[in-house]
Amino acid sequence: MTIYLDHAATTTIRPVALEALDDAIARFDRNASGQHAESRLAKNALEEAREQAATLLGTERPHDIVFTGSGTESDNLAIIGASLGAEGKAIAVSEVEHKAVLKAAFSLERFGYTVERIPVSPAGLVAVDLPGMADRSQLTVLSVMLANNEIGTIQPVREIAANARLSHPGVVIHTDAVQAFNSHEVTLAATGADLISLASHKFGGPKGVGLLAIGPGVRIEPIIHGGGQEAGRRAGTHNVAGIIAMVTAMEAAASDRDAFSERTSAERATFESALTAGFPGAAVTAGRSERLPHISHIRFPGVLAETLLIRLDQVGIAAAAGSACQSGAVEPSHVLKAIGFTDEASGECIRFSFGWDTPQGEGWRAARLVLDVLGEL
């Protein structure tokens, strides 16, 4: 029996979402852009989902929601689409952003855009006054994630956004809220952002679908061109069933937030205290910062993470280290580098992440197994 502690990579699909997916495939399997009765059925279901998503994200304008194929696509559309849609050519991103944000931004450098990397403190946080950026009056797009996917630190995005608007009027602010949605209120107002990226499978929806919420007055150029779907902002035949299932999962996740936080933080607390007490030098990364309740990032000094992950897999614990590259090898983490970890320290860290369906007592069971494995190394 696997103990699944990799929910930050992808979590279990929620039963209501699975049901909605099956139901939508059965009922709305036509192209939502057609001129006939069956298409209209699909289109109606799609637009209903859009309205629900808009409400959940705190906007009364369904048009503010663009459905995409993934969180990565949402990040790319946000960074590239907003940059192409703006006058200036200056982008700023925090150093701990997801690769989808970083690489989207860097991809524009060869077209004359400048990309400023905003440093983070050893606690993993971006300073609210954006040091060193005071004179960048022509800043056009700023991206700071709501919560980090590796170490779980929560950024003060609202304050960062407010300050950035004072010093850089007209700046478009994007936040990648992909990891935060399970536990934190994610609305345009609550985050203070103009653009919010979400990925369905991180909160219990199916994979292959995501969305970008776009605040009023923000101009987005499409990055995928074609049939003009999504008001010309994202072409491609709609994944109607995937979208409906995602929005169903969003509703479930949004109403489950308090319980989710309580459950996962309780499991995590047991887990972390057992490990830090049971293994010499084991340290929770950014342990004193405000963190997502379900992510536990721990360094085990003297233990190669790559080795530990394989041993954990052998006893049925699924966890993660760094980010997996295309081949499956573990790559050094840019996030840990940014918070001052050496390559050696960074190679000794494992991310354990709990989920909406983590059974009670799993934190304790997992900690005992991890300690057993560590004892054999």
Binding site: L304, E306, T307, I310, R311, D313, Q314, C325, Q326, S327, G328, A329, V330, E331, E376, L377
Partner: protein, 360 residues
């Protein structure tokens, strides 16, 4: 018992994994990521590519064994790639596969075998490990056309006791037949011949890209020191090389000397190339070291038959005399000593220049 199988994505290591399962081992498959392109991706050309890792992964899935990719890029770069380049720049002919076995596969990976919960390390090499009365010997492969004992000569008793080479007992045709019988997707995959980090298949391209200074032209000299042509960089030549010299004389000419500091290469006839022995350093032994005065057979290049030689001196610098003169061994290549079909040990040739004509 659990076996860690180094799976390259080729047919040999695929079958090795299957054979260990048949022998009752639990198996874990790993591919070493040794080399990467910009952006950390695995290379797409050469060998050990992303496609090879994918083949290994699929075979592991078919055999229903866990499979992982392990990152050895730093170790491999430092221990294999950098010395390979600097070796050529210094007029040597390095053998990167031997250095990989010596310094990555059968050291770093072997040390990790226990940490990964495994008892033995398995590869798809063609050679045999034979145990008798607690002594482990490294023998030539059952398939003499595929024997790889030369590139494994550095294995000592400690390493040999933890290594299994199951396909070394089989002929290549049997290995392919077994793979086909098991329905493995690698059954008819062609053998890789290339150096894994040289994507184009020509090491000169690799050197030119990393060290543009290798393209320094210089003189081609004959045995009397007369300039007879021009070359495009000494690193592009190997002792004994016959083709591509760009010099038209009546009979065949061979590279007999490379002087990177002078930027010259010297060419001569086959007789000029002959040597009656060589000097070797960094010797290692599979079990007990032979002594001065012993007669052994030696291979001074991968694809040649062993020849008879006498050990003249031992120590930091071993001296060998060939019973019959041999084409001059290339410094940087390995000399491997055999007793019949068993490997005694070997080291790196530092000087192959004991010229027969000079002695006469």
């Amino acid at each position: 018992m659990r076996a860690l199988v180094a799976m390259s994505g080729g047919v040999d290591s695929s079958v090795a994994a299957a054979l260990m399962l048949e022998q009752g081992y639990d198996v874990i498959g790993v591919t070493l990521k040794q080399w990467e392109g910009p952006d950390g991706s695995m290379p797409t050309a050469g060998c050990c590519t992303l496609a090879d890792a994918e083949d290994a992964r699929r075979v592991a899935a078919q055999l229903d064994v866990p499979y992982y990719v392990l990152d050895y890029v730093d170790e491999f770069t430092e221990a294999v790639v950098d010395p390979f380049a600097s070796g050529y720049l210094n007029g040597l002919t390095p053998n990167p596969c031997i250095e990989c076995n010596r310094r990555v596969r059968f050291t770093a990976l072997l040390e990790r075998t226990k940490d990964l919960g495994c008892d033995v390390l398995v590869t798809g090499h063609y050679a045999r490990v034979v145990e008798h009365d607690g002594v482990f010997r490294l023998g030539m492969a059952a398939d003499d056309t595929k024997d790889q004992s030369y590139v494994l000569h550095m294995l000592d008793q400690s390493a040999l006791s933890k290594i299994r080479l199951p396909v070394g007992e089989m002929r290549k045709t049997e290995v392919r037949a077994r793979a086909a019988q098991l329905g493995l997707r690698t059954a008819s995959k062609p053998d890789s011949q290339d150096i894994c980090f040289v994507a184009s298949g020509d090491y000169r391209d690799f050197l030119a890209e990393r060290h543009p200074e290798v393209a320094a032209p210089g003189d081609v000299l004959d045995m009397e020191g007369t300039v007879v042509g021009e070359h495009q960089g000494t690193a592009g030549y190997t002792i004994g090389q016959r083709r591509g010299l760009g010099v038209a004389v009546g009979s065949a000419r061979y590279v007999v000397d490379i002087e990177p500091t002078e930027q010259t290469i010297t060419i001569g006839t086959y007789e000029d190339l002959l040597s009656d022995g060589c000097f070797v350093t960094e010797m290692s032994f599979t079990h007990e070291a032979p002594a001065a005065g012993d007669s052994v057979s030696v291979k001074v290049r991968y694809r040649s038959d062993p020849v008879a030689a006498d050990i003249i001196a031992v120590g930091d610098r071993w001296e060998f005399t060939f019973v019959e003169p041999q084409p001059r061994p290339a410094p940087g290549q390995s000399l491997v000593m055999y007793d019949g079909e068993f490997v005694l040990g070997g080291g790196i040739i530092v000087d192959g220049r004991r010229s027969v004509t000079a002695v006469l």
